[in-house]
Each structure stands twice: as structure tokens, then as C-alpha cells.
């Protein structure tokens, strides 16, 4: 399989702190790749670098061979690399449906003037966005809440809405930062199905997650980082047996790796 993203020698410093240190790995087309590591290891920073919300101190990210580091985030989003946020990030005062509809912005064929004058193209866009939004909302199991104001949703559903917003942009690569955080067992199981479903739509998924059983179940491959450095890369089985990984996790917290 072809590599869709190449992360090479990525380094990010915040003052004296090295949040990412010389990290390199490739992402294959249409795989689910998880990035794991203890708190503060630098996972979210890595995602922000890939989605170009931050510029690397050195190193670069290439998407299909083209350098994307240093581009504006909306430009990278337009190329198909879209990130969801670790903190639940939604448009709070809009309805669930409007949240998902606005996230279709990238797909507009009409320009702003077109929308102002409601040209034919703009009207077709509006219709298509609404249709697609409803489909995504149903896919994520938010159908009965589509007209609810987003800030009224329970936590698990907010996470789902975050994913829905990401999906609505029609991404090629979707970066999910802790999508299962704060979910109970059943919700996580459903969310796992959703992420698999997203992949089955042809999307390449990058996942940051602390829920180890979930990560082991869903990932094709895993990259482990600790103190900003990549310490391992491989299949879930390889990672579970890697002594360095076990040590990093036992050193950091009690959480057991694997099942």
C-alpha cells in the first residue's frame, strides 16, 4: 500500500521544552494508525503539526509527496487533512444539524457572492449539504438530536458530533484526538464501530487514544511516543510485546498495556 503521509524528523520546541523530538514515520493509505504515549508525551502536538496548526521547529510533513508543513490550517484542511480536537470542540450555540452543515463549507462550489445572491449553484450546494449532513448525523447515531442546540448534548454525543464535523469536510486523512475520552464501555464500543465505518468509507484515520483495549482492537499499526520521542512502531501485537513500551507505560502510570 502507498504511503499517504510522510512524517520526517519532526521536531517542535516550545521555548526550552522539546515537545516532539525528531519523529519520523509513514502513514499508509486507508489504514488506522494510532499514536499512543503517556500524558504530556507530545501526541497532540504531533497532530497539530500534521494538520499544520503549528509549524515545526525542524523537519516536515509531506502529503502525497507534497510538503504541507508551514501552510495555513485551512489550506491543509482543503487538501483533505482534517483534525478533531482533544477538547470537545463544536459550535456551541448552533444546532447539531447546523454544526454538521457548516462543516461542509469545504465542499462548496459556489463562492460567497453566490451564496449572497442564492445562485443556482449555491442552492444546489445548500441542498446537498443538508442531505449529506443528515446522512452523517444518522451514521453517528445523532438522528434524534439533530435539532438540539449542540451545547445541550451529553458528553458522549458531543464527541460523536466532533467526529461528524470532521467527516462532513470529506477528509482524506482524519486525525482524531482522544475521541473516546470520557465514554463508557458501550459508548466506546459504538464509537469503535463508527471509526471502523469511517475507514471503510475510504478515509485514512490517525488516532490518539488512552483507552488501550480500544486501541489494540482497532489499530492496524501503532506509533508510541514518550517524552517527545518515538520509541516504537508496529502492529498491536508487536507493540504489546515491546519491552521499551512496557517500561514507558509502567514507569509513567499503572495502566496496563493491552488486555
Amino acid at each position: 500500500m502507498a504511503d499517504i503521509l510522510e512524517v520526517s524528523a519532526l521536531t517542535k520546541r516550545f521555548g526550552g521544552l522539546v515537545a516532539n523530538n525528531d519523529i519520523s514515520f509513514n502513514v499508509r493509505e486507508n489504514e488506522i494508525l494510532s499514536v499512543i504515549g503517556p500524558n504530556g508525551a507530545g501526541k497532540s502536538t504531533l497532530f497539530k503539526l500534521i494538520a499544520s496548526f503549528l509549524s515545526p521547529t525542524s523537519g516536515e510533513v509531506r502529503f502525497r509527496g507534497k510538503r504541507i508543513s508551514g501552510l495555513a490550517p485551512h489550506t491543509v484542511a482543503r487538501m483533505g487533512i482534517v483534525r478533531t480536537f482533544q477538547e470537545t470542540t463544536i459550535f456551541k450555540t448552533m444546532t447539531v444539524r447546523d454544526n454538521v452543515i457548516i462543516a461542509h463549507h469545504l465542499r462548496s462550489r459556489a463562492n460567497l457572492l453566490g451564496f449572497f445572491f442564492a445562485t443556482k449553484t449555491a442552492q444546489e450546494d445548500e441542498k446537498e449539504f443538508a442531505r449529506s449532513a443528515d446522512e452523517i448525523i444518522d451514521f453517528l447515531g445523532l438522528g434524534h438530536q439533530r435539532n438540539e442546540i449542540a451545547s445541550n448534548l451529553p458528553h458522549g454525543h458531543l464527541r460523536a458530533l466532533g467526529i461528524a464535523i470532521g467527516l462532513a469536510t470529506n477528509p482524506t486523512v482524519l486525525l482524531l484526538d482522544e475521541p473516546f475520552a470520557g465514554m463508557n464501555h458501550d459508548e466506546t464500543r459504538r464509537a469503535l464501530d463508527i471509526v471502523r465505518g469511517v475507514r471503510d468509507r475510504g478515509v485514512t484515520v490517525l488516532l490518539v487514544e488512552h483507552d488501550m483495549p480500544a486501541v489494540m482492537k482497532i489499530s492496524d499499526r501503532i506509533v508510541v511516543i514518550n517524552f517527545g520521542q518515538k520509541i516504537a512502531e508496529g502492529t498491536p501485537k508487536e507493540i504489546q510485546e515491546n519491552p521499551q513500551v512496557i517500561e514507558a507505560y509502567l514507569g509513567a502510570e499503572d495502566a496496563s498495556i493491552g488486555m
Binding site: 494538520a51 496548526f53 495555513a72 490550517p73 485551512h74 484542511a77 482543503r78 482534517v82 483534525r83 478533531t84 480536537f85 470542540t89 463544536i90 459550535f91 456551541k92 450555540t93 448552533m94 447546523d98 452543515i101 457548516i102 462543516a103 463549507h105 469545504l106 462548496s108 460567497l112 451564496f115 449572497f116 442564492a118 449555491a122 450546494d125 445548500e126 464535523i165 470532521g166 462532513a168 469536510t169
Partner: protein, 324 residues
Amino acid sequence: MSKALKAVLAVAFLAVVFVGVPMLIAATGRSDLYYTLTSVALLSIISAGVWITFYIGRINIGQGAFALLGGYVSAILVMTYGVSFWLTLPLAGIFCALVSVLIGLPILRLRGVYFAMVTLTLTEVARLLALAVPITNGARGIVSIPLPGSVTIFGVTVIPDFATLSNPRLAFYFTAVTLMVICFAGLYRLVHSRIGHICQSLQQNEELASSIGVDIAYMRILAYALSSFLGGIGGAMFAAISQSIYPSSFTIADSVNFMLNCFLGGLGYVLGPMLGTFVLYFGWDLLFQTGSFQLLIFSSILIALMLVLPNGLLSIRLRSQSQG
């Protein structure tokens, strides 16, 4: 509100503004009201600009600077270059929009109180510039600006020469309310189209907006340019009506008032700045009787109103609706 009801209200509003008010004024002989209502219409246009910046999540206390700039651009073009006022009107708006792009590029990165503070100083900077630059004629300002001339298209006089009119006040009134209607109709359309949703997404979370592909820097500049355009148009009209413009024609107090108009009317409603300007303007006048207590009473009422109605006067209507 249903679509039909909205249409009826809109037509009723147009009838009142274009027919009702002139008839009433003719009947009562209070032609001084024309000046007052013209001012309200123009101030509401300038305030509508401020409202747009609120709509993308920026507190703008610098609109006076653009009103002043617009006034000077129009006055200078008319006086020095003999350009028709009607041409200087859009030119003033466009010039303000261009200047706001230059200013906006650096300052629109700021948020919250930082942006507000920078814009607050803009009005003062504009005043000092007007005092210092030769072309503005310093503190003496530009005076005796001729009234707007006639506009003729294919031999047909579309707009008569204001100087030949027996009642130029009425003509200014019609001009101002026409501009106001166009401005608010455009704003309404803007807000209810996808552009409005995009602005809202900016207001709520710029990071998320850019992650769904919104060019937030571009949208911010666009909104600010539109805002300043309206400020420039309003300023140019004021210069034409008073036939003069001075460095002190628009001050920081005016900039603050433009913002208050939006607050008072309601930041969530397109018509907020119009209602806010109307109430604030007449409220201030009504309190004239109270003499030295005018400002004190006025401010206290304003503060109380904002505490009771944080979403503005127009929220009353929505509240009573949701209660049945």
C-alpha cells in the same frame, strides 16, 4: 415568524418610512424632525458596520475613525477635485474599506479586549491625523461644501440638484432612509445566507472554523472592510448634510455610541443596530429636560437595560414568543 408576516412587516416599515413620516411631518409642521430622523438613519448605518464586526466576534470601538475618514474623502473629492457627491459616496466607502484592510491585517489577529483597545485608539489617531495633514485644513476643517448636485442618466434627471430644492431636508431624509433600507436588507440577506453561518462559526471558535476549511483571516478582513465601508458611507453623508467636516466631527464618544447602539438593540439581531440607534438617540434627547443629570440618568438606564436584557431590546420579542 412566518415568511408572510415578515414580508408584511417589511412593507409596513417601508410605508411608514417613505410615506407615513413625511405626511405626519407635513401635517404637524415639525420639519426639524427630518434632520433628527436623517441622523438616526445614518447613525444606524454606521452602527450596522460595528454590528458586523461583533458578528465575527470582535468588539469594535473604532468606527468613528472610518466615519471621519469617509467624511473627509467625500469633502476633499468634492471641494478639491470637483467630483460629484454621488460618486464620492461609494468612493468614500471603498477608500475606508481599503484602509481597513491595511489596518485589519495586523490588528484582526487580536481578540477580545486587546482588539477593542486598539480600535479605541483608532478614532483618536484619525482625529490627530485630520489636525496634522495639510489636505484636511487642520482644526478649521472643510466648510461650505456645496450641496449634492444633480444626476442625469441618458438625459433624464434621476436626482435633482439639492441646491435648487425648496426643501433639501426632505431630499436628505429620503436619501438617508433609502441607504438605510438597502444597508439593512443587504445585511439581512448576508446573515441569513451561508456567509452568516461562516461568520458565526468564526465568532464561536476560530480554530474549529479553520479546521473545517474556513479561511479565517480572509473572512475577518472581509467583515472588517464591510464594516468600515458602511462607516465611510455614513460619514460622507453627514459631511454632505452639514456641508462641513472637522477633526472633531466624530470622536471617541461617537465610536462608543455606535457600539452601544448594537448592544442595546441586540447583537443577535440584524435590526438591532437600527432599533438601538433610534432608542438611544431619542432617549438622549428626551432626557434633555433633566439638565446636568442627563448623562447620569442616561448611563444608569443603559446599564440597567443591559443587565436586564443582555441580548438587547429585540430579545423581548423573542421571549414573549417562546412563552406563547
